[in-house]
């Protein structure tokens, strides 16, 4: 089926298989492998992208559902060679270990900050509650997100 959509500011018009998931479209068709897959059932958040301003699990969304929608992936977080504050803050706070959860974690955090520029620590924890990390114990991730907001 033919659909139009926008990923990272770029318009696409593609013929896709109706059963294809969004995560496969992004990774397989568009080569945006920054979006990771960890469970395929919306429990780990590794595949989080932003759809019309909201964080979603791209493994639970069919590619066909993004018809006419705007998708942001990790590859769009850096703008004109300048990292997003969240990216810098993750680096400065040692909030990255294996890094496999990092893109999804950053996209959940970004969606939060797009809606709420000064969230509390509890709001941050809830916003990333669907993103599992097995390396860091979350403490540094929460701190990194908090620091990115306080600078706002």
């Amino acid at each position: 089926m033919l659909i139009e959509f926008n990923v990272n500011g770029k318009d696409y018009n593609m013929d896709i298989c109706p059963t294809m998931r969004l995560v496969d479209l992004l990774r397989g068709e568009l080569g945006l492998t920054g979006t990771k897959e960890g469970c395929g059932e919306g429990e780990c958040g590794s595949c989080t992208v932003i759809m019309n301003g909201k964080a979603v699990n791209s493994c639970l969304i069919l590619a066909a559902q993004i018809r006419g929608q705007k998708i942001l992936t990790i590859e769009a977080l850096e703008k004109q060679g300048k990292m997003d504050r969240l990216q810098e803050s993750f680096i400065n706070n040692s909030a990255i270990q294996c890094g496999y959860c990092t893109p999804g974690m950053l996209m959940s955090a970004k969606a939060l900050l797009m809606a709420n520029s000064n969230p509390s620590e509890e709001e941050i924890k809830i916003a990333i509650s669907g993103n599992l990390c097995r390396c860091t114990g979350y403490n540094k991730i929460v701190k990194a997100i908090k620091e990115a907001t306080e600078e706002n």
Binding site: G38, T73, I124, G130, G137, Y138, K140
Partner: protein, 748 residues
């Protein structure tokens, strides 16, 4: 210890952080090669049985399917996924690429190689299988009792042994005998990236494996020996990987992927989904440990007898060595005149157990620290005070290895931690009576620094200087996400006195890189870090020899700082590393490059003492960890930010181990919770803030005095949390995990 350090002791982000935050880093699961094919495994749906017939014709006829493999058209050769070096002991060769007799739900029965993953998946459903079911042995007790049902032809007992340390001493009449039993469960490592492997066999006869693994040389040994290729024709490249925690230590997918690539002569990618990763890779072993100690009334341990049964699951893999590791831990922590351990390692029809963060230490230390609480309570003694009477002292001898425990600061950890946590006030407060009950727990733990004393222990690195004065350190390292590369860079930079940005550290590649055993055994900082330190010192000597020729002055008259060299007293005429490297090449035909093999000659203890506060809801059985302090005897923190991250991550995993996580096995042997919807991994709201206190007293052979942290960070967590729950409820729970059901049953 040198207090004037520039890079060691500073926090640096993990080396590839900029790529990771941009989503640019290519992990093994992102790898895509031209003409690549996709493999999918058919896993056994039953836990025990003989395959009577397999019909793959319909699958083979599906357009897009390249080939289908089963035991009928595959080499019938056994191997051990655990082997690191040829002729290694206790590597039971009981596994085949595809089995004719299935031994657990998830055993490999067939593989389809197709042009897409979708087609491979579709083809699997077309394979017709007929089994004859055999009785399912779900527990070691069942497996040891049933003399008729043999999981492997040699029987269900893989190994048993008795191990004694010290001499029994006559017990006085006033000794108390205390006995406890602790059950630890199988858990899933839950690395966020599932298991994946890519392999290619090219027309020159070379097999290349892109592996998300912890030891490329072990993978090469296993694959080359299995497929009868010479080691020079098997190249294993360590890929960036999304976590491991021991779950990718052993060669799980590499032999099968390599075989498929060799057969189809095109690159093959094999990716497991989460369910397959949970049921068909590895789990932490389940153990049942009985401990009996004799202790004097004033709280001095006289002897300790331990009996462990380890559930290896359907294949032996590393389970025998895992059991040995358990036997060697307790005497690293407590002074015990006589220690005896008997162990049985048993096959069951359940998922395969193997290496897991801490390697036996979490299992035995949880049992031990739950036991220590029981002893102290029997003696009516404070839990901290009782432990302080028995903990090892710096430079005590390790009874197991006969080596020194080094500057073992566990007493300092416990004393400082108790003060910082406010132990006595919190432990001695009035117990809660209502629905919500608070409790505090403490647990000590010991682990190791490398494998010296029980296994060969060395590492080789090559450090070369480029013409511009930058450096490349070629290693056999595997960064699993712990920051290994960064800390090795810091160590090298410190020795060479140059900014770490001028040093590249390469990861393991069997073809282009030097030998190393791999990233496990808490050996990387202590052994590989020391290797980096030594090779850098040697390169610096050579560099100074070259500078000495240029400056026409003996080395001892030269000063070095920040990549520049000058004659003492003549700071105006500095020559840069660039000038030294280039001039040496141009004028002296000298290449500044050194290969060094460092071999370990010590294995001090690594120690941690953790304090937890919990709040138990007696109505729902839910436990919330409300406060946490982790104190670590780390010698020296090379990269404090990453050290703290290791500890906080260990606590996340340990709370799950204590309270929620378990690979649950149903009556038919199948895994009941094979997805993240019902296998609960702690998320951000579950996690307490973890405070850390680092004891940095050096004194051992690690670089700048550093000791291990990644594994020990996990070891005491479960015991600290369990002890806190028991304190809250006045119970003696020790059947892990402490699920709400178990807590409600006790609270009633």
């Amino acid at each position: 210890m040198d207090m004037d350090l520039k890079y060691v002791g500073q926090t640096f982000p993990i080396h590839d952080a900029p790529q990771k935050v941009r989503g640019e880093l290519v992990y093994a699961s992102d790898l895509n090669l031209p003409k690549m094919l996709y493999a999918k495994l058919l896993l056994s749906p039953i836990a025990h049985g003989e395959i009577k017939s397999i019909d793959t014709s319909r699958a083979e006829a599906l357009p897009g399917v390249i080939r289908v493999f089963t035991h009928l058209n595959t080499l019938n050769k056994t191997y051990s996924r655990y082997r690191i070096i040829p002729n290694q002991e206790f590597c039971t060769e009981d596994e085949r690429l595809f089995t004719e007799k299935v031994r657990f739900v998830g055993d490999r029965v067939a593989a389809v190689v197709a042009i897409s993953l979708e087609i491979a998946t579709e083809a699997l459903a077309l394979i017709l299988l007929d089994y004859e079911a055999l009785p399912v042995l779900r527990t070691p007790e069942e497996a040891l009792q049933d003399n008729h049902t043999k999981i492997h032809s040699e029987g269900n007992l893989i190994h048993q042994y008795e191990y004694e340390l010290g001499e029994p001493t006559p017990l006085l009449n006033d000794c108390l005998v205390v006995g406890t039993t602790t059950h630890t469960q199988k858990v899933h490592h839950a690395a966020l990236e599932t298991h994946v492997c890519v392999a290619d066999f090219d027309s020159s006869g070379k097999l290349t494996i892109w592996a998300a693994c912890q030891g490329v040389f072990g993978v090469r040994t296993i694959v080359a020996d299995l497929l009868e290729l010479s080691y020079n024709n098997v190249r294993v490249i360590k890929m960036p990987m999304g976590g491991s925690f021991g779950g990718k230590q052993e060669a799980i997918l590499e032999p099968i992927t390599a075989f498929l690539a060799l057969e189809v002569r095109r690159p093959v990618k094999l990716t497991l989904n989460r369910k397959e990763s949970i049921i068909a890779t590895m789990t932490r072993p389940a153990t049942k440990t009985r401990i009996r100690t004799n202790v004097t009334r004033d709280g001095i341990l006289k002897d300790c007898a331990v009996d462990t049964v380890l559930d290896a699951g359907a294949y032996a893999t590393s389970s025998v060595d895992n059991a040995f590791a358990m036997s060697k831990k307790i005497c690293k922590l407590y002074r015990i005149p006589y220690y005896k351990h008997q162990s049985k390692v048993v096959y069951t029809n359940t998922p395969v157990a193997g290496g897991a963060r801490g390697w036996g230490a979490p299992e035995i230390m949880t049992a031990l620290e739950v036991h220590m609480d029981a002893v102290a309570k029997m003696l009516k003694m404070d839990l901290v005070e009782f432990r302080l009477k028995n903990l090892v002292h710096p430079y005590d001898k390790d009874k197991a290895s006969q080596l020194s425990l080094g500057n073992a600061r566990v007493i300092e950890c416990l004393e400082k931690g108790a003060t910082t946590f406010g132990w006595s006030q919190r432990y001695n407060r009035n117990p809660d009576k209502g629905r919500f009950r608070r409790g505090v727990g403490v647990a000590c733990a010991a682990h190791k620094n490398g494998m010296y004393g029980g296994f060969p222990e060395h590492s080789t690195m090559t450090l070369k200087m480029n013409e511009d004065g930058s450096f490349i350190l070629n290693t056999g390292l595997h960064d699993l996400g712990c920051g290994t590369i960064t800390s090795i860079k810091q160590i090298t930079a410190e020795v060479l006195d140059i900014n770490p940005s001028y040093i590249s550290v390469l990861e393991a590649d069997t073809e282009y890189g030097p030998y190393d055993f791999g990233t496990y055994g808490s050996r990387v900082t202590y052994i590989c870090g020391a290797c980096a330190y030594e090779v850098a010192k040697r390169v610096k000597e050579k560099l100074l020899e070259c500078a000495s020729r240029i400056l026409q002055k003996p080395k001892q008259y030269l000063e070095v700082e920040n990549g520049r060299v000058w004659i003492i007293g003549n700071e105006q005429q500095k020559i840069s590393y660039r000038e030294i490297a280039t001039t040496s090449k141009l004028k002296d035909n000298t290449d500044i490059v050194i290969t060094h093999t460092y071999h370990g000659t010590s294995n001090p203890g690594a120690y941690a003492v953790h304090f937890a506060e919990v709040e138990v809801d007696t109505k729902t059985g839910m436990v919330k960890v409300t406060d946490y302090l982790a104190v670590h005897d780390i010698g020296k923190a090379i990269n404090p930010g990453m050290v703290e991250g290791q500890i906080q991550g260990g606590v996340q995993m340990g709370i799950g181990y204590a309270l929620y996580e378990e690979v649950r096995i149903g009556s038919d042997g199948s895994v009941l919770n094979s997805s993240f919807t019902n296998y609960h991994v702690l998320n951000a709201p579950d996690m307490p803030t973890v405070k850390t206190l680092l004891i940095e007293q050096g004194g051992d052979d690690g670089p700048y005095g550093a000791k291990s942290v990644g594994e020990i960070a996990f070891v005491p967590v479960a015991a600290a949390v369990i002890n806190a729950v028991n304190n809250a409820l006045g119970t003696a729970l020790s059947d892990m995990p402490l699920t709400p059901e178990k807590i409600i049953a006790t609270a009633r």
